[in-house]
Amino acid sequence: MKEYQLGEFEEIVLLTVAILHEDAYGVSIKQEIVTRLNRNVSVSALQTALRRLEKKGYLKSNFGEATAIRGGKRKRYFKVTKAGKSALDYTKETRMNLWSAIPNVTYEYARA
């Protein structure tokens, strides 16, 4: 099913938004990825992924509160939509299918 295609980074972002549940906005998503995956992420890459996911309909967003540290700018909170959830399920399922299809022999070759 083509419509559920997710890029590797998109998948990570989508999962992170799901993890953070009600508290997913730019900075928190970034920090979550940094701490969990030990992976440095630029604002540009993150924003691009978020906007693309939103366009695909896997995320929806709305403005939240403004804080002083943000110079009075509001946060944009992201939420996983139903379609997003289906996409994650689909991805996971296809991965599991692939995993289970690997015969044991392969590992022996790999060891050799």
Binding site: S44, Q47, R74, K75
Partner: protein, 904 residues
């Protein structure tokens, strides 16, 4: 920055934030900037402010990518823009119509400037395209030979090589993959059935010819064209000549024609027809035949000769990437030793000869060797024309800028109103650029018309076949459009920026925003025009004065009413001459091997005797064979000794030299330069001295005055004339009356003696002038283009003066009211321009003086650049300026002061 209070929150770099706000999509900005700022503060909290700032800016730079950037133009804005352009066009056209005179001046200036530029560009492009069509052009070199004197000075550099060079060079050097020699043998008659074509230039060529040069074949193929010894390759025009216009239907490949020369007639088979050789090639052949055929006529020695007889045009093709200087070096080191070794005199051949491998692509523009196959172009000429062309274009642009700005005062209120309504500076710039492009677009058809009109004249004059067809040739059209837009922008840019900068209040008040007497950019533009004008006038004056110098100079011989007749067949020369001299209008006649205005080619080594010891001379001493009337016919003065007498041609010199034997008559007349070179300052002293010249020995009987036998480009060299039958030309001095009748008589008499070929003759004064044809052409072309530049400059000047007066109209009014005379007002205006002329003079003169003395250095005998030549351009520039000023001033002072003072 560091002195900030510690408690104050650090803030991210503001310029980065502004940049972000500028490019980021509006609905992303708030939260993204917020995120960035939040994270910035998180990093900065640890005291790493610099790092935080860098991080912040870097993140913003990385956000600058297509998915994040705002849509550039929303739809409605484009509509707004186009409607504005419609408005600019409308206003522009109205303005052009309103100020018709300046529009006309602008259009004429730009179109002639651009047309002249394009014509020059066509010429330059054509000159640079020579020989480029050959597929392997980069790898083709011409074998040329340098000759040295005994002292090691270069005596001659020949464009051709000897017969045996081509094959030997190819055999000896692996880098040389192909070689070819060409030889124009005998100019045979070509016979096709009952039609006879006398004296056709058949060129015999080595078999590699089609591997080296790329010619396009219409019929036949390069592989088989010269396979058979008796094969003949035609070009389209020679096919038409021999077989008629319908040659294509006659299936002429395989047809037989006969070549007839020197008493033998040989059938040749036509094997191929090529397209005519392109104009942009430095040689042109109409017939090609295999060189092996010549082996029937020449001895093996002659076909393999390696020294002298430089009549074989020779080319080599080298493998790509060959090191030509190294190849040349090793050829010079080995070749002469291997094939000639030492001469009988014991001298080593390699000291006397050198090869020079000349790149094919350099031949047309850079080669001026002895015996070039066709007249080549000159790189200097191309440079001069390029400079003039660029100057013309610049002058036209500058002119436009001047005129456009000078009309600014009329447009100032318009600009003011536009600004009040809310025009941006950028939209004003767009408006003026639109207007100036408008002018170039109007000039364009006129320019094309001028080019098409002038091109035939240029072609005729430069002997070119340049083509201009902008519709057919997209490669010419595109640069032309580029130039057009470039000129539009360049010409419009200055007034556009200048006008858009006007102070709003001043503009609306009607004040002069710019003081006309202030030194500003426009003054530089005017000065530039003066510089070009003065420089060009100076150049014309120098060229003209040199040409005048040549025309009036005395080359030492009388060249008027002398006809030089070529001798072709063999017949009794004495009878022929006597029959001619019987005519009352023929005064004198003399046979010779060469005539003045020709070249001094043949020369031997000379020795002269002091007592019994022969002293070898080191200078080159060319020889001309003449009969006894030569000095009389050309009215060359004899400084010492006697004329040749009857009998001297056969009389043997009686001295015995002990070892040598004398078989040839030997009475010599030398010129005074030769006498000096032999060491005799008084010509009388050398009379009677014994001289050995080549294989003969003889005595000097006369010393003649120096004459410019060759052109004035070269110095007068020592020369020697001898009374000996080796004649190729007859010089006939005729009366100036009834020239036509005399020429008819000569033609008829010649026909009686030589029924084969028609009489071919030239006037010596024409030959004399032809020596300077290149300079004549150059001077005429530069004159034409310079006059165009000067005229454009004048148009600009008139406009400028008009502008100055317009800005000063109130001042003039007040002065007149207070009682100033027309004269003093005239002074007021002209002072400023005279200052500009002065500055231009100081800049233009050194540059053009330097360039023109370089040009004069090409002549050995040359005019001096005198005070008059230097002053002339300035005086002319001043005169032109004053005329323009007077005209405008008189117009201005005639106006009633009330008219110009009433509104304010």
């Amino acid at each position: 920055m560091n002195t900030q209070e510690p408690k104050k929150k650090p803030s991210p770099p503001s310029w980065s934030t502004r940049f972000l706000a500028w490019f980021l999509k509006e609905d992303y900005y708030e939260d993204v900037q917020g995120d960035l700022e939040e994270e910035f503060q998180l990093i900065a909290k640890d005291g790493r402010i610099v790092r935080a700032k860098n991080w912040y800016s870097w993140q913003i730079i990385r956000l600058f990518k297509p998915s994040m950037i705002k849509k550039v133009k929303p739809q409605d804005s484009i509509e707004k823009e186009t409607s504005m352009y419609k408005n600019y066009l409308k206003i522009g056209l109205r303005n052009l119509w309103k100020y018709k005179s300046s529009t006309v001046i602008n259009v004429i200036g730009l179109s002639t400037g651009l047309a002249a530029f394009v014509l020059i560009a066509l010429f330059v492009k054509d000159e640079f395209s020579y020989d480029k069509h050959h597929e392997n052009a980069e790898q083709i070199y011409r074998v040329t030979v340098k000759n040295y004197t005994r002292d090691g000075d270069l005596s001659r550099h020949w464009a051709f090589a000897s017969a045996g060079h081509a094959t030997r060079l190819k055999d000896d050097y692996s880098e040389i993959t192909h070689s070819v020699r060409f030889f124009p043998w005998a100019f045979p008659d070509i016979i096709n059935g009952d039609k006879k074509f006398p004296g056709e230039p058949v060129i015999f060529a080595g078999e590699d010819v089609f591997d080296i040069f790329s010619f396009n074949f219409i019929e036949g193929s390069p592989e088989t064209a010269l396979e058979d010894v008796f094969s003949l390759v035609l070009t389209e025009s020679s096919a038409i000549k021999i077989f008629g216009n319908d040659w294509r239907d006659q299936n002429i490949v395989g047809a037989t024609v006969e070549l007839s020369a020197r008493g033998s007639t040989v059938p040749f088979k036509v094997t191929a027809v090529m397209e005519d050789m392109p104009d942009q090639q430095h040689f042109h052949f109409d017939y090609l035949a295999p060189i092996r055929f010549l082996e029937n006529f020449f001895s093996e020695n002659a076909m393999n000769n390696v020294g002298g007889n430089y009549n074989w045009m020779t080319f080599i093709r080298v493998s790509p990437g060959s090191d030509i200087p190294a190849l040349e070096q090793s050829a010079n080191d080995e070749f002469w030793d291997k094939y000639i070794g030492t001469f009988q005199s014991g001298a080593e051949a390699k000291d006397f000869y050198d090869f020079k491998f000349q790149p094919l692509l350099d031949i047309h523009l850079k080669s001026k060797l002895e015996g070039e196959y066709e007249t080549n172009g000159s790189i200097d000429q191309v440079y001069i024309f390029s400079i003039v062309g660029i100057l013309l274009l610049l002058v036209a642009c500058v002119n436009y800028m001047n005129l456009a700005t000078s009309h600014y005062s009329r447009r100032m209120k318009e600009v003011g109103v536009r600004k009040v309504i809310g025009a941006f500076k950028s939209s004003l710039i767009r408006q003026f650029l639109t207007e100036s492009t408008l002018i170039t677009i109007i000039s364009f058809p006129l320019c094309v018309f001028l080019i098409i009109w002038a091109l035939p004249y240029l072609n005729h004059f430069m002997e070119k076949q340049l083509v201009f067809n902008p519709i057919m040739e997209i490669e010419l059209l595109l640069p032309l459009l580029g130039i057009l837009i470039g000129v539009g922008v360049a010409a419009g840019l200055y007034p556009a920026i200048f006008l858009s900068r006007i102070n709003l209040v001043q503009a609306l008040k009607g004040e002069q925003a710019m003081n006309a007497s202030k030194w500003n950019f426009r003054s530089w533009l005017v000065t530039f025009q003066y510089i070009v004008t003065i420089g060009l006038i100076f150049s014309i004056a120098v060229i003209e004065s040199q040409m005048q110098f040549i025309r009036n100079s005395n080359p030492g011989y009388q060249r008027d009413q002398v006809v030089s007749l070529q001798l072709q067949g063999s017949f009794n020369l004495e009878t022929f001459k006597n029959e001619l001299l019987a005519h009352p209008d023929i005064l004198k006649a003399s046979y010779s091997s060469r005539i003045p205005t020709g070249r001094l080619m043949d020369s031997w080594g000379a020795r002269y005797f002091q007592g019994d010891s022969a002293i070898q001379t080191s200078f080159r001493l060319p020889i001309v064979s003449v009969d006894k009337d030569f000095l009389d016919t050309y009215e060359i003065e004899l400084l010492a000794g006697e004329q040749f007498r009857d009998g001297m041609e056969t009389e043997l010199v009686r001295d015995s030299t002990g070892d040598g034997f004398i078989t040839t008559p030997g009475y010599y007349t030398i010129n005074s330069t030769a006498a000096k070179a032999f060491g005799f300052d008084n010509p009388n002293d050398i009379i009677g001295t014994k001289i050995a010249y080549g294989p003969t020995e003889g005595r000097v009987v006369g010393v003649m005055d120096d004459i410019n036998f060759e052109s004035m480009h070269t110095e007068i060299v020592p020369m020697l004339i001898v009374y000996r039958n080796n004649y190729r030309r007859l010089s006939i001095k005729i009366r100036s009356e009834n020239i036509r009748g005399t020429l008819d008589f000569i033609e008829n008499t010649y026909a009686k003696f030589d029924s084969e070929s028609p009489a071919t003759y030239n006037f010596v004064d024409e030959l004399f002038n032809n020596q300077y044809q290149k300079e004549e052409r150059l001077s005429t072309m530069i004159k034409v283009f310079a006059v165009i530049a000067i005229l454009i400059g004048c148009l600009g000047l008139i406009g400028m003066v008009g502008f100055v007066i317009e800005t000063k109209i109130k001042e003039i009014g007040v002065r007149k009211v207070l009682g100033a005379s027309t004269q003093s007002i005239w002074m007021l205006v002209s002072n400023r321009f005279l200052l500009l002329v002065g500055i231009a003079f100081l800049i233009a003169l050194p540059i053009s003086y330097y360039l023109m003395s370089g040009w004069l250095d090409e002549f050995v005998y040359r005019t001096n650049i005198g005070v008059f030549l230097i002053m002339l351009p300035v005086l002319l520039a001043i005169a032109l300026t004053l005329i323009a000023i007077s005209y405008q001033t008189i117009k201005a002072t005639r106006v009633n002061p009330v008219e110009c003072l009433k509104d304010e």
